[in-house]
């Protein structure tokens, strides 16, 4: 096969792209930013029907995963369309809950897979905010080796991207799972969030570049399209370069995550084995979904995920800067739908691992 997407994986991406193009995300984003989650939740339902969340959830919990390559394909498309909502957070929660095991996994994972639950979370080491907590059916927090369900979304802090709504989850809440497996599950969840954010940033950057190329072809000054000027061309070429070299790192991380997933990860009755996660309760919770550090090769996926995040976060951000510059004054306004993408580049660069934190992680690996 080699390092190429299969025809099915490409078709999956194309079908999501078509679905989201037809749905028209800018109107959904405007509603979401105003606190009206209706259109956004309806869109999430359709994405769930297309399999986006089930592909992260292990079979034992009603999913078909974990399938990191397909997850990356999906996140690139969701990023391309700036889909609102806690995408990376929900995918991270899948890793967290799968690692925590029964009963919390049993309660939430089937609902995430089917799209009836949207979940957010906050993890130690990644900042205090739970994205879009007010739109979520559950907000999880981890402190040490305790997993809690937050009693409420907490207070809203305005984000520079109005369609990203930040909340500090209300403290407390009853522990829903506890033990050393929670620490490992939180690490896996952090990797899953970092990985998903990298893919979202890549998709966001690709859309910014596409829109900008289209713009500079039709915008004329001095009697010619501004896209015929070498200074403009070279900046756009560099933007493509950044994205094209981030892409293989994102999919390389997907392959690492897939390798780190035990063969039986989606399987049956692995609980109680040496790497069995969760509370140790008999009855077969599967192993930690995304391999909590240490695949068959001995090196966990962490450094590969961090490398992908650095490259995709920087490339997506650079695409936003290029898009703003090449659009000129109109790019500095809310007049264009482009603003939804322009404002997403910076937060995706820093969320779930800043460039510097991820670079440190690459060298530590």
């Amino acid at each position: 096969m080699g390092f190429l997407l299969t025809d099915e994986q490409r078709e999956f991406g194309r079908s999501l792209d078509a679905l989201l193009t037809a749905a028209g995300t800018p109107a959904v984003l405007r509603a979401w930013a105003a606190g009206d989650h209706g259109p956004g939740r309806a869109l999430w339902g359709r994405l769930a029907d297309a399999g986006v969340f089930a592909l992260a959830v292990p079979e034992a919990y009603g999913g078909v995963g974990p399938l990191p390559v397909e997850a990356a394909v999906a996140c690139v498309e969701l990023g391309r369309h700036a889909v609102p909502g806690p995408v990376a957070e929900t995918l991270a929660a899948v890793a967290l809950l799968a690692g925590a095991g029964w009963p919390v996994a049993e309660e939430w994972l089937p609902r995430i897979a089917s799209g009836t639950a949207v979940v957010s979370l906050a993890l130690e080491g990644y900042g205090p905010y739970a994205l879009d907590a007010d739109a979520a059916d559950a907000v999880f927090t981890v402190t040490g080796d305790e997993l809690r369900l937050a009693p409420g979304p907490g207070e809203l802090s305005a984000s520079a991207d109005p369609a990203r709504r930040l909340f500090r989850p209300e403290p407390g809440g009853a522990p829903v799972a506890k033990g050393p497996a929670i620490r490992a599950a939180a690490r896996a969840a952090g990797d899953a969030a970092t990985f998903a954010t990298a893919a979202l940033a890549l998709g966001c950057g690709e859309e910014l570049l596409r829109a900008t190329v289209a713009y500079v072809k039709q915008r004329t000054q001095f009697g010619v399209p501004v896209g015929s000027f070498q200074a403009v061309k070279h900046r756009l070429a560099d933007t493509l370069l950044g994205l094209e070299f981030a892409r293989p790192l994102v999919f390389g991380a997907a392959v690492k995550l897939a390798e780190a997933t035990p063969e039986t990860g989606a399987g049956t009755g692995a609980g109680g084995g040496p790497t069995g996660a969760g509370t140790g309760t008999a009855g077969g919770p599967p192993e930690a979904g995304t391999g909590a550090g240490g695949g068959p090769t001995g090196v966990g996926p962490g450094p590969a995920v961090a490398a992908a995040k650095v490259a995709a976060g920087e490339a997506g951000y650079a695409a936003a800067r290029t898009a703003l510059q090449a659009h000129g004054a109109i790019g500095y306004t809310e007049e264009l739908d482009l603003a939804w993408w322009l404002r997403r580049g910076p937060p995706l660069r820093d969320a779930w691992g800043t460039p510097s934190a991820c670079r440190a992680r690459v060298l530590a690996g």
Partner: protein, 381 residues
């Protein structure tokens, strides 16, 4: 999607690793940009050839192993990880040989390839001229028909290692009346010590005679040393500059090894509090991995029958800018010792500086990326 390697690739890798472990010189050879170093590197080419490792991707009949692209990539990873010497025959192997395999006659392949593989004949390229750099089609050196061949006159320049090499290849104007500049050109080969050839070494920035200019005064080239049809030189030359060559000009293995050395240097002498420098080391590690994976994807597409074409411009801009950044980081880590001329890092830095200039400047490559990959309109350069 996977990064699995075939048993065939891994067998080649293991065999290469074992051979290199026993044969790579314990101490680095003198710089291949000097006469002494050139000779030492020629001997190394012969040793490589003796082991069957000088041209792994060539057909067996010409001294290769018939390795596919994945085998070549694995060999390169092992080669550079082993700290083996630079390849003095690189220009012949990566430019002339693919051209001969695609467009040459059986006689030319039989005559040229094996001595190239063994290092017996080392080839220089003769493309650029004083008035034809990025605008290569503006070249003026001409070949005039004579009995049984052609007479070359004119001047070529920036010819890497021509001061020490044996033969050269390039394109020459054979039809001055052609309608367009890139028509009426012919691809041919000549000897650097043939009558009428004068080679003048040019010191590069560090003073080493790494390249030369070549003056040609009615140099006779027999018909058997014309590659392809006369007048088709541009098409033939360009076919060797895109596609597979985009993948094989600089292998990821080279940069993976360099990034590993940089990381080791960082561990040895880096100040943990200097996070700015640490981040640049991390970027070198990330970039090498990105280039390896980008190449793996290109190789997989190529193996599946796709053409790569203008993608090779992405590749070239990436590695050439990357190589400079990596060496700048190493020099900054060395601090006061960065200024020393004869360290491997200093030599690598000077070598890297040429990357964005040769093989099509990065400005030309960015034009290609913008026009052919992004579809932006052509404009004035």
């Amino acid at each position: 999607m996977d990064l699995d390697r075939t048993a065939r690739t891994e067998a080649l890798r293991a065999e290469a690793r074992a051979w290199l472990r026993d044969h790579v010189p314990a101490r680095p050879l003198p710089s291949l940009e000097t006469e002494e170093g050139f000779a030492a590197h020629r001997r190394w080419e012969a040793e490589l050839y003796g082991g069957g490792w000088s041209v792994v991707s060539w057909p067996r009949e010409h001294g290769g192993r018939g390795a596919d692209l994945f085998g070549w990539l694995a060999f390169e990873e092992e080669y550079w990880a082993a700290g083996a010497p630079g390849r003095v025959s690189q220009n012949g192997i990566s430019l002339l040989a693919p051209t001969l395999l695609a467009h040459g006659t059986a006689g030319q392949r039989a005559r040229v390839l094996e001595p190239m593989a063994s290092g017996e004949v080392i080839w220089a390229q003769a493309w650029s001229e004083p008035e034809a750099g990025s605008d290569l089609a503006a070249l003026r050196s001409r070949a005039v028909r004579t009995e049984g061949g052609w007479l070359l006159s004119g001047q070529k320049t920036w010819s890497s290692r021509a001061a020490f090499a044996d033969r050269a290849f390039g394109i020459f104007r054979t039809d001055p009346g052609a309608a367009k500049p890139h028509q009426g050109l012919t691809y041919l080969m000549f000897g650097l010590r043939d009558p009428g050839v004068t080679v003048r070494p040019i010191g590069r920035l560090d003073g080493k005679p790494a390249f030369a200019e070549i003056f040609l005064d009615e140099v006779f080239v027999p018909d058997e040393d014309v590659i392809g049809e006369p007048g088709q030189g541009w098409r033939i030359a360009m076919s060797a500059t895109g596609d597979e060559r985009g993948l094989t000009l600089r292998s990821p293995g080279r940069f993976l090894a360099a990034a590993d050395r940089l990381r080791a240097l960082w561990r040895d002498v880096g100040d943990p509090a200097d996070t700015a420098l640490r981040d640049r080391v991390a970027d070198a590690v990330i970039g090498a991995r990105a280039y390896q994976l980008f190449t793996a994807a290109s190789a997989a597409r190529f193996a599946a029958g796709a053409t790569l074409g203008p993608e090779s411009s992405l590749n070239k801009v990436f590695w050439s800018d990357y190589d400079i950044g990596l060496h700048e980081t190493a020099l900054d880590l060395l601090g006061p010792d960065a200024e020393l001329a004869d360290t491997a890092w200093a030599e690598g830095y000077v070598f890297a500086l040429a990357g964005p200039v040769y093989a099509g400047t990065n400005e030309i490559q960015r034009d290609i990326i913008a026009e052919r990959l992004l579809g932006l309109p052509r404009g004035r350069r």
